[in-house]
């Protein structure tokens, strides 16, 4: 059952001009960044590790943005296009429905990661960081995106509207991204430090900094950044579960 929902979404969401365009834009962005990092006089003065960290942040940022936009409509479209009623009249478990959709969103992340891989390999050539770069982007990106998608699904069941879900999800993503724009002085502020420690996007960037700039390659050395991501995943799962339960109790069709 999960497979059929996943395949439907792959056909509906990924084999479309929309997804192809997204992946094309992502690859153009990665090409442009890599080219600048490798050829620009000032940027090429950066230490290679700094350059890799910058690229990793761009890959994660682009992936978060694309997956957030896609995931905001993957569930809500069933309500807006009135296909949910027919779907749930069939012997389909809500759990299978959610897992199928979740897999489809993670597939989009996988495609972005595949598109990013050549850029990672080229820019990290000669640094011995290629494997760590790929591994940590895959691990941290997967955890962060999994949590974000679960939160988006939770919001989708509450709103049942793509526009509202997308707006709320982008606001959440923006809130998590803001600390990256903080100056060093601001980052030393207690509030900024606490927020930075619980902020999943910040933890991903800090962990990549730890791996790519400070050569702290072991999981243990990055555990302090990984466990907030795991907590973020649990939080996302709880929100999604509560929201899905509420949805099931209220009924597939909401008249209020």
């Amino acid at each position: 059952m999960i497979r059929h929902i996943w395949l439907k979404e792959i056909n509906a969401e990924l084999y479309t001009w929309k997804s192809t365009l997204w992946l094309l834009i992502a690859s153009l962005l990665f090409s442009f960044t890599s080219y600048l990092l490798l050829t620009d006089k000032e940027l090429s003065l950066l230490d290679q590790t700094e350059l890799l960290w910058l690229l990793s942040k761009i890959i994660i940022g682009v992936a978060f943005l694309i997956v957030t936009i896609d995931a905001s409509s993957i569930i809500t479209t069933e309500f807006e296009k009135e296909t949910a009623e027919s779907l749930f009249l069939a012997p389909l478990r809500l759990k299978d429905f959610i897992l199928g959709k979740l897999l489809a969103s993670l597939t989009l992340w996988l495609l972005i990661f595949i598109v990013a891989t050549p850029y990672i390999l080229v820019t990290s050539a000669g640094s011995n960081l290629a494997t760590a770069f790929l591994g940590y982007v895959a691990l941290l990106g997967s955890l962060g995106i999994l949590a974000m998608v679960m939160i988006i699904f939770g919001i989708s069941f509450l709103y049942r509207s793509a526009k509202n879900t997308l707006t709320t999800s982008l606001v959440i993503m923006l809130a998590f991204s803001v600390p990256a724009l903080f100056s060093t002085t601001l980052k030393n502020n207690t509030f900024a430090q606490v927020f930075g420690k619980i902020n999943p996007i910040n933890n991903i960037f800090e962990s990549l900094d730890n791996v790519l700039v400070d050569y702290q390659l072991s999981i243990l050395n990055n555990w302090k950044f990984i466990y907030p991501l795991l907590l973020f995943c649990i939080l996302g799962l709880i929100l999604m579960a509560i929201s899905a339960r509420r949805f099931q109790n209220k009924g597939i069709i909401s008249n209020d």
């Binding site: 059952m1 069933e78 009135e82 009623e85 027919s86 749930f88 012997p91 008249n255």
Partner: protein, 309 residues
């Protein structure tokens, strides 16, 4: 006949509004059941509760011996054309039915045979149509596809919410004929419709719901008796109407058109008195050229009952 759907004291409110109020119904296996009511009467809410799409605030629903918490088992024995007519527009009809067949666990040759048979039954098995995306379908074609989807699991009970809405007269007749055939094959049909002629021509039993409450239930004749409404017949005889003018039946005769060669008139009374009139015509050797029911009686019953309520 055994009971296949049993509803007891079913109620559902949206905010302060009672959409369905203490509704109780029983439907027998193999019955063609018509569910009538004006807009906003609670028909769709009732169907959604019966099919497990929304939960009732109170009341019990038993479908083929299964209580409502057995939603998955129930979904295997019911087929539904819901009010919301959403389709995956980027799919072809075949892909669409294939997707639902997969959800029902129908696979392989059985699946492709079933899909071809259903598309043929609803008139969509055509090479030009088969390659089209559903987005390009007309409303009527989508309606036919919806019916095919509702039959994919060979349901024992079919819930239909306005199944011929948006269809042209030929399309309506095709669907009605298919429904008649399914009913003859033993499928119990629960038909919600505002097309009174459709309900009266298809259904063996009807229920009328108004403002969420059941106001009448039974066979059309029973409802007619209940409302005191009489059947109207159109009769055409050879010759003049004069020979029967002395009979007591004349008070029930109306709209007389007598040209001396043939006479047309309408007769409105009970079936018993209609038979007596026919006997009188036979006794007087008057040839009956035409005898038909006016067929709008359900409209009268419906209006009578809903206005009363």
């Amino acid at each position: 006949m055994s009971e296949i759907i049993s509803i007891k004291n079913l109620s559902k409110s949206y905010n302060q509004t009672k959409a369905v109020n203490n509704l109780s119904l029983t439907i027998d296996r193999g019955e063609f059941f018509g569910f009538l009511g004006p807009n906003g009467a609670g028909k769709t809410t009732t169907i959604r509760m019966l099919t497990g799409i929304i939960k009732p605030d109170q009341g019990d629903i038993i479908i083929n011996g299964l209580s409502q918490d057995k939603k998955e088992e129930i979904s295997h024995i019911i087929g539904v054309i819901p009010e919301s007519r959403g389709f995956y527009g980027w799919m072809t009809a075949f892909e669409y039915l294939q997707f639902f067949a997969n959800i029902y666990g129908i696979k392989g040759k059985e699946q492709s045979d079933m899909i071809a048979s259903l598309l043929s039954q609803v008139g969509l098995l055509n090479n030009n149509i088969m390659g089209m995306r559903i987005n390009a379908y007309s409303r009527g074609m989508k309606q036919r596809l919806g019916l095919a989807r509702s039959l994919i699991n060979k349901p024992e009970i079919l819930f239909l919410d306005e199944p011929t809405l948006g269809l042209d007269p030929q399309g309506q007749e095709d669907i009605q004929n298919l429904l008649k055939k399914l009913n003859q094959e033993g499928v119990t049909i629960f038909l919600s419709s505002h097309l009174l002629h459709e309900v009266s021509s298809l259904c063996s039993k009807i229920a009328i719901i108004h403002k969420g409450s059941l106001i009448a239930e039974g066979k059309i004749d029973e409802l007619r008796q209940k409302t005191g409404l009489k059947e109207t017949y159109h009769i055409k005889i050879e010759g003049s109407i004069k020979p029967i003018q002395e009979s007591k039946m004349m008070s029930h005769i109306d709209k007389i058109k007598d040209n001396g060669i043939t006479s047309d008139f309408t007769f409105q009374d009970s079936l018993e008195n209609t038979n007596r009139l026919l006997d009188i015509l036979r006794e007087k050797n008057i040839r009956i050229l035409e005898f038909r029911s006016e067929g709008e009686t359900l409209t009268d019953i419906f209006l009578n009952l809903t206005l009363e309520a």
